[in-house]
Structures are given as C-alpha cells and as structure tokens.
Symmetry: C2
Amino acid sequence: MDIEVLRRAPLFATLGDDVFGALTEELTEVDLSRGASVFREGDQGDQLYFIVSGKIKLGRTAPDGRENLLAVLGPGELFGEMALFDPSPRNATATAVSETRLAGLRHENLRKVILTSPEVSVQLLQALARRLRRTNESLADLVFSDVPGRVAKALLDLADRFGRPATDGILVAHELTQEELAQLVGASRETVNKALAEFVQRGWLRLEARAVVILDIQRLRQRSR
Amino acid sequence: MDIEVLRRAPLFATLGDDVFGALTEELTEVDLSRGASVFREGDQGDQLYFIVSGKIKLGRTAPDGRENLLAVLGPGELFGEMALFDPSPRNATATAVSETRLAGLRHENLRKVILTSPEVSVQLLQALARRLRRTNESLADLVFSDVPGRVAKALLDLADRFGRPATDGILVAHELTQEELAQLVGASRETVNKALAEFVQRGWLRLEARAVVILDIQRLRQRSR
DNA sequence: TCGCCGCTGTGGAAGGTGTCACAACCCCCG
DNA sequence: CGGGGGTTGTGACACCTTCCACAGCGGCGA
C-alpha cells in the first residue's frame, strides 16, 4: 500500500501518527483493471473508498438499460461515503475507467477514527459538501445548457482535473470513450459526437484515438457559458 | 423560539441537556413571509439554518434570468450547510414559499458543538448524504424521464413530505405555483401545465387554486417510472 | 365593488435531441 | 496477417420541448 498518498490526503492529514498508523492497519487494498467494478447499484456495502491511483466512474442504470454517469473521480478523491451514513443500498455503480488502486475503509473503523479525531469528520463534511456542490452544478447545467454547452463544460472540467499538456494543447478524456462522455453530460453518443465535430470544425479541438486535445480553451470556455 | 421542535430534530437529539441549552443561546431566530429570501446566490455567509415551520425553496438563477429549483424543504430540515465546510459563496438562493420561521446557527458555534459532541457531525453527515442522494436522483430523472414523468414524481414526492389528506385524495403543492413546480422539475411552465391537464383528463388528479389533489396515486406512481 | 395583476389554460411554430441506419476506422487477438 | 468487435463519424426523420401569443380566471388591494 502506498502510504505516502494517503498521508497527504486532506482526510487524513490532521491525524496524529499513532491514529494514522492504526488506521492504515485496517485498510483494504483493491486493484482493478479497466471495466471492473467495485460495487453495483443495489448492493449492500459499508465501505468508504479512497482512490490511490487511476480513475473511477460513478454511474446509474435506468430500468431500460440506459446509463448515466454522476461523476468521474481521480486520485485523492473519496467515494462510497453515502452508504456509511445513509443506510440504504448503493445507489450507483462504481467502475474503473483505467488501471486503478483503491484503499477501502470499513464503517466501524472510520467511526472509531471520527470519535477520537473530530477533525476527520470536518474533512468528510467538506468532501461531501464539495460533491453536493458539483452535483448541483450539473443539475443546473442539464436544465440551462444545450448539449454542446455541456460537452464544452465537461471537457474543461476534465482538463482541469486530469488534463495533460500536449504539444499544441491539453490532452483530455484519454481513457474515456465518447459513449462515456455522452453519459457524463446526459446526452446520446451521436449528439455528443456532432458537438465535438463542430468544435473541431471551429478549430477549438483536435480529436485523437480515445482522446481530445483542447486547442482554444478561451473559446471553449466562452461556449460553455 | 420553539425549543420543542429543535429538541426533537435528529441533529440535536443526541445532545446532553447542558450542551443543548448552551446551543439554544446561540441561535438566531428568523421570520419570513412568502417571497422573502434568507440569502442569495453569491452572498457570503457562514450560517446553517434549521426550519422550525414553513417551507423554503432553494433555487438558482441562470445569467439570462431563468430559474431552477434544487429542492423544497420543510420543517425539521437543514439548509446552508455547504457554506460551513466549503468556503465558497452561497451557490443558491433560499426563499420562503410560505410563512416561515427559521433558527440560524453560526459556523463557530456549530464547530464548538461538533468538537464536544462528535455525534452531531454524524447527524450532519447523514443529512448531507441524504441530500446528495436526492440530488443524484433528480439528476437521473432529468436524463431518463420526460416532463410528465418528472411531474408525476415531483407530485408524489411532495405528497410524501407535505401532503395533506383531502376529502377524495391528497392535497399537494399548495403554496406552490405551477411556475415553481415547473422550475422544480426543470421544465417550462406551459409543458408542466399540459402534463397536469393530461393527468386530470385521465382522472388521476384534480386541480384547485394553487394546489393539486392526487386522486389515483397508483397510476401516478406507475407513470413516474 | 371594481380593476388589475398574477396565475392558469391552450394552440401552433420552431428548434433541439434522440433514434435509427449505416459506413469507416482501428486496435487487438486469434 | 486477416478478421472482428468496439469505437467513431454522419445523415434523415420523428418527437418532445421550448417559445410565443393570447384568452380566461381569480384574488387582493384601492
């Protein structure tokens, strides 16, 4: 287990070495390859996961089989917290988007830590509040923006969080198919593809195999509002 | 201040009488009439609010003036928690939907309580987790359901939480205009009105002045899925 | 009580999006 | 090296939804 990454995470940063040491004893290590899922909608589960490396997508499936992504999360982020405090089954499926390593923490162990170090609960509250804020943002976007606008916004967000510099721009959405991008913005794959094509037309993007390169981030930002 | 309501709220239920007593000293009482707002999008603010009586709508405004409701909350519910832990300005406007009484609690006071009674943070985490769950639900509905489906679901939800028995059904959405209902489901007022008219046509609803009476909850539930 | 303003009800035109259909492409595996 | 399945690209069409226009309706205040 890569202790360093955990130690630097805000959630654990305030812990004393002794508490932190005891905590790491309790962690479960989980390794996943692309497409493997940690848990599925409807599962029981009382484990909180911390992403050490890789990416996880949180998705929901409608009765008719259509899918929809709530979020794509990266290293240092948490998921599965809701099951800890709201005793319903998982309401999303967590799937690895790339090679991913997780650290799992069971409910009872987290509870022990919270009672001894109230600072941890403040960190958890912050993490949940941030997620809620992001989700509210997505909700507003779905109501107010058209598909191209949402695609632009999603690309900018992905660039912020996972983007890698390329020769002439920022490499984004590597490891994400257009299908997944479509599910993330709540639209059909075809419509998203057409939006991307239009952006390429205008010279704002360049498409690569399973990736997008942002060329004109200004215009893209403008279009997203 | 109506201490009884506060005492029974899950957030404070676990507190000892001494801590609770000290806490109530710190509470600010706020009274609002319909249409008055507690805070607005973009405001700074570090106060958590507890609804003693009445209803509050949480809404966002797009640059072009269109509005969208994130939630309608009733007695016993909390709002404004995000500002406590995520130090950005308010990302929603809170407005009274009816005569409303609130109890406000400042950040520093809540923090004191959390440090002495970790149980409170668990309650807060639960409240946030529930809200996140609801928001995720709305997000999925926006993607998967058409307007009539979302209207049906919203009515059922409102009935669950605020419904009052009527002679031949359940009285819902009193104090909510169709405009507000539309903003809640993320659709135009006209489309919502037509959906309602169709439900009336089928005998599932009856419309009254600024209110809806649910007559056939079964069919409505079926339509919502 | 009258008038007014906000809420409700409805129709039709215009536009965005989903669905369907199919072709091209590419990487991976046999 | 040659399929083949998954991914990407693109057009046509139907449908849902918004937008616009306007007509009742009703409650509240002057």
